[in-house]
Amino acid sequence: MSRQYETVIGLEVHVELATQTKIFCACSTAFGGEPNTHTCPVCTGMPGALPVLNKKVVEYAMAVGLATNCKITRHCKFDRKNYFYPDNPQNYQISQLYAPICRNGYVEIETESGSKKIGIHEIHMEEDAGKLIHDEWEDCSLVDYNRSGVPLIEIVSEPDMRSAEEVIAYLDKLRLIIQYLGASDCRLQEGSMRADVNLSVREAGAREFGTRTEMKNLNSFKAIARAIEGERARQIELLEEGKQVVQETRRWDDNKEASHAMRSKEDARDYRYFPEPDLPPVDISEEWIEEVRSRQPELRTEKLLRYQKEFGIPQYDAELLTESRKMAELFEAAAAICGNPKKVSNWLMVDTMRLLKENGQEPEELNISPEYLAKLVELTDSGAINSSVARKVFRHIFYENMDPEKYIEEKGLKTVNDESALRETIKRILEENPKSVSDYRNGKEKALGFLVGQTMKEMKGKANPEMVNRILKELLQ
C-alpha cells in the first residue's frame, strides 16, 4: 500500500429508554414477559387504535439532548416511516424526520491523542418493533409484539470520528451520560444500546468524503472495533485494486469477522415519510426545558473532578469509580456515612472489581447497601475485626448484601482484644514450639511468621494482629 488513507466514521446509535410504559400506549416495557402479553390494540396495530405520546419519553430525549449540548426543537413533530415487515404491526414506524427533538450538539471524547469534539447531528424519538421468531421445525415465523412500541432515541453523529478508538470513546461517553441521566441502562449485549457504523475512506488530505457503507448487527464494543478494522481494510483494498466502493448496507458477522452486503443504494427503500396525522406537534416551552435541565444529575465528568478535589482520590481511581453510575452512587453514599472515602474507594477498587471480574458481572448489577459497606469500614477502623476477617465478611456483603455486624456476631468473628488471655495462649504456643523459638533467637526472622500463624489459628483468626506481634516479640526477647 503506497497511499495513506483516512477513515471517516459516523454513528447512528439507538438507545432503548428506561420508561415504565411504552411510547404510545400504557403497556409495560418490562423485558422477558410471555410473548404478546405486554400488548394492547395500539401496539399491535389494531384497526382504529391511536397513539398517545408518553411525556416521559420526551423528557428523557430532552435530558440526553441537553447533556450532549444539543439545541432542543421547540415545535417538534412526529413522522411516519412506511415499510412492510411483520415485526412492525402497522407497517409504519412512528419516528421523527422533519423536526427531530434535538439538533446540533456535541460530546467531548478523550483518547490517547487528546480530547476531541464529536458533533451530534440530531436525536430523534421513535418506537421499537416487535420480535420475529423463526421456527425452522414448523417452517413458520412467529411474532412477539411485547417490544413493539418500546421507546427509542436515535442519536445520529456527524462523520467526525477517524478511528475505532474514537468510536469506542464516543460510545462510552454516550453510555455514561445516558446511564447517569437514568434514561437507559445502555447494554449493548442486551440490545438496549445498538450502534450502526457509517464508514468511508479517503486518501489522506482529501477534501471530499469517499463513498460510505453502513454496517449493522454490532453487538459489542469489540465487534464494533473489529467491524471498523475489517470494513476499512475492505474499502482500501477495493480502492487499491482500482475498484469503487458501493454505497450499501452491510451486515457484520462477528464469528466470521467479515461482513456481507444486505442491500445497495438502488434497492434502498423509499420510506414515504410524511407527518404523523395522529399526533399533534409537541410544543416544548422554555420552562419545560429549564425544568428538565434543573433535574439533571451530576454527570460523570463533574464527578470525576469532584472526587479528586473533594476526596483526594487519584485520577485513575476516580475514573474507575465513576465508570458506572451505580458504583459512583454506592461510593458517595458509603463515604458519606462512614466519613472515610479512601477506605470505601479501596473496597470498591480492589475487592469489588475483582469479584465483578470473577463473576463476569457489570458494575450496574451491583447489589450492595452503602450502609453495610460503611459499617464494614467502621468495623475495621475501630479494630473490631481484622483485615482478613473483613475480606471474608465483604464477600457476604457482595453476594448476599448481608449486614456485616449481624454476620460477625452470628459467627463470633469479633477481634479478641483481651491482652492477658492472648498472652496466655502465646505462652502456651511458645512452649509447644521450642524449635521455632530457638530458630528465631538464632536470627531466623521467618520463624516469627510461623508463630504468628499458629497464634491466629488458635484464636480462630479473631486476634488483633498488631497485638499478637507485639506480645510475641516481647516474650521472645
Binding site: 384497526p47 391511536l50 398517545v52 411483520p86 409504519y92 423509499d270 414515504r272 415519510y273 396525522p277 399526533l279
Partner: protein, 494 residues
C-alpha cells in the same frame, strides 16, 4: 304514530314516559329492517338477539332510574368502520369480512353510556372511499327514494337506513363529505362536527387528519342530542380537543335575527344543477325573511379543494391501510410462497378497485421525488383554504350552500367516471380540510322527486351557530317527508 316514524327524541320521551319500552323500540326497528333491508341493503350486520338482550338490559336500567337521558333506550345504527366490541366490523371490505374488534370505539362507548341500543352495522363504501356506497364488498345500498339510485356515500347505509325508517338515527363518518352528501341524497339531516370534537379512537382510519364521526338523523334536534351524547375530550385520541362546553341542544332556537350568513358566489358556478341552486337560494331567502343578514361573497380557492383533498386523504390512507396485510387479522390469501407473495396476494385479493386506486395514488404522492410537488403542495393548499375560511368567518357566522351539485345519481353511473365522482365532493371537502363543522338538511325535492340538501358551515367549535340556523330553517320548512309518504303526497313544496 308508528314507532319508526318517530324521531329519536320522541322515542326517548315515550320510553321515559313508559308508553313504550326499549325492547319494543328495538323490535320495531328490527322488524322494519327485516321488511325492507333485502331491497335496500343498508345493513351489513344485524345481531337481533344481542340487540334485544341489550335493549332489555337498558330497559331495566331505565326502570330503576339508572338511565334517564333523552336517548336512553333508543335504537341506533352504526357505520361499519366504527369498532364495536364483539360485533363484526368490516369497513365493507373483504379484507375485514371476519374481523370482530376486541374493543369498542370511544363514540360507541358514549352511545352505550347514554343507553342507546346498537341494532346493527351499516353499509358504506369500502373503507369509506367512495361517494355512492357502491364500492362495498357487500353490494350497493339503494336509495329509499328511488331504488335505482345511489344513497350517496360513504355513509350511504346509515343515511338510507334513517330515511327508510329502519332506525331513527345512526352514526356516520365524514372525511370529505361522507355524512353530508348521503344525507343530501337521502333527505336526512347529518352533521359533521369540528375536527377533534368526537373521539376517533376506534374509528378505522381513512384520512386521519380529516376523519370525524357524526350523527345522522331525521331532524336537527336529534343531531344536536346525539352530538351531545358522543362528543368528548378523549385522552386516547391525541387530536381530540377539549371544548368549553358540550351543550348543543340549547342552540335549538327559532331565532336567526342578526345572524350573518354568507353565500359563496363560487359555489353557484358551472356544474351545479339549477334545481339544486334554486332550492338552496330559497332556503337562504327563508332565513333572510326571519331576520338573518344574508349576502353573497367570494370564498376563493374552491377549485383547489378537490385536488388537495384527494392528495392528502389518499396519502394518509395509503399508510393507514398498510396494516391490513394478512399477518395479524383479516383476510389472508390461501396459497402463497414466502412473505412478500403473501402480502401481495392478500392485499390484491382483499381490497376492492377504488381502495387500491387510492392506495396507489397515496403511495405515489408520498414517494421521494414527488412528495414536494404533490403532498407538500396539498398541505400548503390546505393551509390557504383554512385562511380563506378564517377571512370569511371574520364576516359571517354561517356559510350557506349546497351539499352536492346534484341529487342522487343512478346506480352505476358514478363509478364509470371516478374523476367526475371526485368532483362531486366540491362543496363538502373544504370543511374537512379546514376542520369546520357542517350540517346538511333537506330543503326540497327536484322534479324527479329526489331530495335536495342544504349545507351550513360554521367556524371551528361554532356548531351552535349552524344548529340554530338549521333549526330555524327546519321550523319554517316543517317536517320533511319520508320517502314513501312523500311519493304519495308529491313532496314538499317550498
Amino acid at each position: 304514530m308508528e314507532l319508526m316514524e318517530m324521531t329519536a327524541a320522541r322515542l326517548g320521551e315515550e320510553i321515559q314516559a313508559g308508553t313504550i319500552t326499549a325492547v319494543q323500540a328495538a323490535e320495531a326497528a328490527l322488524n322494519r329492517i327485516k321488511e325492507k333491508d333485502k331491497e335496500l341493503n343498508c345493513f351489513i350486520t344485524v345481531e337481533e338477539e344481542a340487540a334485544l338482550e341489550k335493549a332489555a338490559a337498558v330497559q331495566k336500567k331505565i326502570e330503576s332510574g339508572e338511565l334517564s337521558g333523552p336517548l336512553a333506550g333508543v335504537p341506533i345504527a352504526v357505520k361499519d368502520n366504527i369498532c364495536t366490541e364483539g360485533l363484526r366490523t368490516t369497513c365493507a371490505s373483504a379484507m375485514l369480512n371476519d374481523f370482530v374488534p376486541p374493543y369498542s370505539a370511544e363514540a360507541v362507548k358514549k352511545l352505550e353510556k347514554a343507553g342507546m341500543v346498537i341494532i346493527g352495522k351499516t353499509n358504506m363504501d369500502e373503507f369509506a372511499m367512495g361517494s355512492t356506497t357502491e364500492t362495498s364488498f357487500f353490494g350497493p345500498t339503494r336509495n329509499p327514494w328511488d331504488l335505482e339510485r345511489v344513497p350517496g356515500g360513504s355513509s350511504g347505509g346509515s343515511c338510507a337506513a334513517v330515511a327508510a325508517g329502519e332506525c331513527s338515527c345512526a352514526l356516520g363518518s365524514d372525511t370529505g363529505g361522507s355524512i353530508r352528501q348521503p344525507s343530501s341524497f337521502c333527505g336526512v339531516t347529518g352533521l359533521k362536527p369540528t375536527y377533534g370534537t368526537v373521539s376517533r379512537y376506534g374509528l378505522i382510519a381513512y384520512g386521519s387528519s380529516l376523519d370525524q364521526i357524526g350523527p345522522i338523523a331525521r331532524d336537527v334536534t336529534d343531531c344536536a342530542l346525539l352530538l351531545e351524547a358522543i362528543a368528548s375530550h378523549d385522552k386516547k385520541d391525541s387530536t381530540s380537543m377539549p371544548r368549553e362546553e358540550y351543550d348543543f341542544s340549547s342552540a335549538l332556537q327559532k331565532d336567526v335575527k342578526g345572524l350573518k350568513i354568507g353565500i359563496p358566489r363560487d359555489y353557484f358556478g358551472e356544474g351545479l344543477d339549477p334545481e339544486v341552486a334554486e332550492a338552496v337560494r330559497k332556503a337562504a331567502d327563508i332565513l333572510k325573511e326571519h331576520g338573518a343578514c344574508v349576502e353573497e361573497f367570494d370564498l376563493s380557492l374552491v377549485e383547489y379543494a378537490i385536488p388537495a383533498y384527494y392528495v392528502i386523504a389518499s396519502a394518509e390512507a395509503s399508510s393507514n391501510l398498510a396494516r391490513f396485510d394478512g399477518v395479524k387479522y383479516g383476510y389472508r390469501t390461501q396459497e402463497f410462497e414466502g412473505l412478500h407473495d403473501m402480502y401481495k396476494k392478500s392485499r390484491s385479493e382483499g381490497f376492492g378497485e377504488e381502495v387500491k386506486r387510492r392506495i396507489m395514488l397515496g403511495s405515489f404522492v408520498l414517494s421521494s421525488g414527488y412528495y414536494d410537488a404533490y403532498y407538500l403542495k396539498a398541505l400548503r393548499t390546505k393551509a390557504l383554504i383554512r385562511k380563506a375560511f378564517d377571512r370569511a368567518f371574520e364576516k359571517y357566522d354561517v356559510i350557506l350552500g349546497p351539499a352536492a351539485p346534484s341529487t342522487a345519481p343512478r346506480l352505476g353511473d358514478s363509478l364509470k367516471d371516478p374523476l367526475k365522482m371526485y368532483l362531486g365532493d366540491v362543496y363538502t371537502v373544504s370543511a374537512n380540510l379546514a376542520g369546520l363543522p357542517g350540517i346538511c338538511l333537506p330543503c326540497g325535492l327536484d322534479g324527479k322527486g329526489l331530495p335536495i340538501g342544504l349545507q351550513l358551515l360554521g367556524d371551528c367549535f361554532q356548531e351552535k351557530k349552524i344548529l340554530r340556523a338549521a333549526y330555524t330553517y327546519e321550523c319554517v320548512r316543517g317536517q320533511f317527508y319520508q320517502p314513501e309518504s312523500s311519493r304519495k303526497e308529491g313532496g314538499v313544496r317550498l
